[in-house]
């Protein structure tokens, strides 16, 4: 099978890959406290790299520390195949990072915290912010904290996505559970390549 190098721009870049290494990126985004760092930790083969700082603004109300640059984890498929997992900072003032992080990504995992004041607005905001990327790649939506906040329900999110003319799997997840995060990413991959076999 010919080697597929998705983006030369980062195939030999700062994480130390070389030209013979196939690197892919999956991006995790969503509001502060939605579980991005936790989700990456659940699925990563390596100890994740975080850039948490003590929260100093509104994020402080939700958690003591928050991601300010990015989170990084990795799934290592072989010596030459790696899937890099990037978590965007949740706070909007770091949104200049988002375009940089999504460059060359294969899909977007949007985590929405169902306990927040207006999850529909969050969904709108992030799908709008990543509009181009979503159109080019694949979005999957994971709803967190549904165990304690049952409303809105998954069906509400489906309707909201319909209104936004976006087609994407929506799953209720617990970011702490590897199985949940894994299913979300599986849905992303299978949406990108329906019928893909599990080798």
């Amino acid at each position: 099978m010919p080697h597929e190098v998705y983006s030369h721009a980062y195939s030999n870049d700062w994480w130390g890959g070389d030209m013979s290494t196939e690197n892919r990126k999956i991006i995790f985004t969503g509001p502060v406290g939605a579980g991005k760092t936790t989700a990456i930790r659940s699925i990563s083969d390596i100890e994740i790299v975080t850039t948490d700082e003590q929260a100093s603004d509104m994020a402080k109300a939700r958690k003591p520390a928050t991601t300010v640059a990015m989170d990084y984890g990795m799934i290592k498929l072989s010596e030459n195949e790696r899937v890099h997992l990037y978590g965007t900072p949740g706070q909007e003032r770091f949104n200049f990072m988002w375009d940089i992080l999504t460059e060359g990504g294969i899909g977007l995992v949007l985590l929405i915290d169902n306990s927040r004041k207006d999850p529909q607005q969050d969904l709108k905001f992030y799908t709008q912010a990543f509009k181009k990327f979503i159109e080019a790649q694949q979005l999957v939506v994971g709803i967190t904290r549904m165990d304690t906040h049952r409303v809105p329900n998954v069906n509400d999110y489906r309707q909201w996505l319909d209104q936004l003319k976006i087609k994407a799997p929506v799953f209720e997840i617990d970011a702490r559970k590897r199985d949940d995060v894994s299913l979300l990413i599986q849905a992303m991959l299978m949406s990108l390549a329906p019928g893909a076999e599990i080798l």
Binding site: D147, K167, I198, L199
Partner: protein
């Protein structure tokens, strides 16, 4: 099938002064749940009860200038509390429960006064000239009944269900959360683990609603030899229970072997859910072996029988039209009883979609109801939330395939090279959840820009293998 033990004489009401929005709601209510309780008449004179929207100035003016003097009892709709003589305040938005409760109060009141609530001559019993308020008040003592405005946080009828044990009323567990949105329902499902801030500890919070067999949970690690074998065996038998073991058939052959009769249990369940959603009230579905509570506002179903055990299949198979299947909106007392039951058995509270999904699969076991044609091209509107539904082989590839391309069930099985029974099971279960679009033209197509490269299927396949545990 709605149980209606209180078939009193209906109350005559006129909706002319109810306002357009309320009229639409009430028309709907009168046509269904309220059909034995209320009857529409074409003028307030003929009504036994004056019904007005007190927030609508012309209606309010009419009431104050004219109707009030008739001495008829009144149902006063308003968003803020209204305290009027001989009137019952109904808070907007209206709920079926508050309407039924109000009707019950009025019927008692009219019965005590010897008035037939549905008699057309009712107006004559309350002629404007006849009414001195004093006399009228003797007939109808000041009611002063008010209904509390239902909390915007949805409640299950008159009494809110805390749903499982109240944690500690003095210390709400919301300290680290932003205020809830207006319509949010907080369900403090009792899972102590969820309250632990340490997000790094995981995998131990799964309740049995979260699918599958307990052997699959990661915190249980029996000896590998036994667990692998036992787990495999359990999974295989469960898969057969869910999807059957019928062999494939040719698309042009007789499908009668794949068609199953509608399960009475499933059709009753769907009716109960429909009713519960329409009236946004909890509904009790009564079978001899089990009582099933449908709770639409929190999207849950309470069932004392574990749906992942054989006993639940027995329940489904044993339900017949002659034995139960009656349903009704929960009374206040039943809500309190339910609350107690939930406190004692929180694990019996299932996600509604998970409950319908598993019930559908067990009812059909790989077959299809006659309403579904496997040769018809259909599309998947939305993915089912597979993290919270009972899994069976190939569910995810089927979802991906059907979501990307509209096709018939036979072609899905063929394109994925998988047994048809899994596709039929998926088709049936997703259809029960309302996720199938029979008219593919109506499906939303993804706005997309051409990808610079095709998906790297080899890498995806290897990544999938890793994710599924290979």
């Amino acid at each position: 099938m709605i149980e209606n033990s209180k078939q009193n004489n209906p109350l005559n009401v006129c909706l002319d002064d109810a306002g357009t929005h309320n009229k639409a709601i009430l028309d709907f209510f009168f046509a269904k749940l309220g059909q034995n309780v209320f009857r529409c008449v074409d003028s307030q004179e003929k009504a036994s009860v004056v019904l007005i929207d007190y927030d609508f100035p012309p209606a309010r003016q009419k009431y104050e200038e004219e109707y009030q003097q008739w001495g008829k009892p009144a149902l006063v709709l308003s968003i803020s509390e209204v305290s009027l003589e001989n009137a019952i305040w109904l808070a907007k938005p209206l709920t079926s429960r508050s309407l039924l409760d109000a009707a019950e109060t009025l019927q008692k009141q009219l019965a005590n006064s010897g008035v037939e609530p549905n008699a057309d001559e009712t107006a004559e019993l309350y002629p404007p000239t006849d009414l001195g308020l004093t006399e009228s008040n003797q007939l109808h003592p000041p009611v002063q009944t008010t209904r509390q405005r239902p909390p915007e946080i949805a409640s299950l009828g008159a009494a809110a269900i805390p749903l499982v044990k109240k944690v500690d009323e003095d210390s709400p567990d919301l300290a680290d959360d932003e205020p809830l949105n207006d319509t949010a329902v907080t369900v403090e499902v009792e899972k102590e683990e969820d309250k632990q801030p340490d997000l790094s500890t995981n995998l131990d919070t799964e309740t049995h609603e979260n699918k599958q067999t307990s052997a699959e949970t990661k915190d249980i690690e029996p000896t590998p030899e036994i667990s692998e074998e036992a787990s495999k065996s359990i999974n295989e038998s469960r898969t057969i229970m869910l999807c059957g073991d019928k062999p494939d058939i040719a698309a042009n052959s007789d499908l009668k072997d794949f068609y199953t009769d509608d399960s009475f249990f499933l059709s009753s369940l769907k009716d109960a859910i429909r009713l519960a959603r329409q009236c946004q009230q909890g509904v009790l579905l009564n079978f001899p072996k089990a009582r099933i509570y449908v709770l639409p506002e929190i999207h849950r179903v309470f069932c004392g029988i574990n749906i992942y055990e054989d006993e639940f299949l027995d329940l489904i198979k044993s339900c017949t039209i002659s034995e139960g299947g009656k349903m009704h909106i929960l009374s206040t007392q039943e809500i309190h009883e339910l609350n107690d039951m939930i406190s004692q058995q929180a694990s019996a509270l299932y996600d509604m979609e998970a409950f319908v999904w598993t019930s559908t699969l067990l009812s059909a076991q790989g077959g299809l109801p006659r309403t579904l044609d496997p040769k018809k091209v259909v599309g998947l509107k939305h993915w089912p939330s597979l993290t919270r539904l009972e899994n069976f082989p190939h569910a995810m590839p089927i979802a991906a395939q059907w979501s990307s391309t509209s096709m018939n069930a036979f072609d899905v099985a063929k394109s994925l090279n998988i047994p048809q029974r899994y596709v039929f099971s998926f088709y049936n279960a997703t259809n029960s959840l309302g996720l199938i679009e029979q008219d593919p033209e109506k499906l939303i197509t993804k706005k997309s820009v051409p990808r610079s490269k095709d998906a790297p299927r080899g890498l995806f396949s290897r990544l999938l293998k890793r994710l599924v545990g290979g």
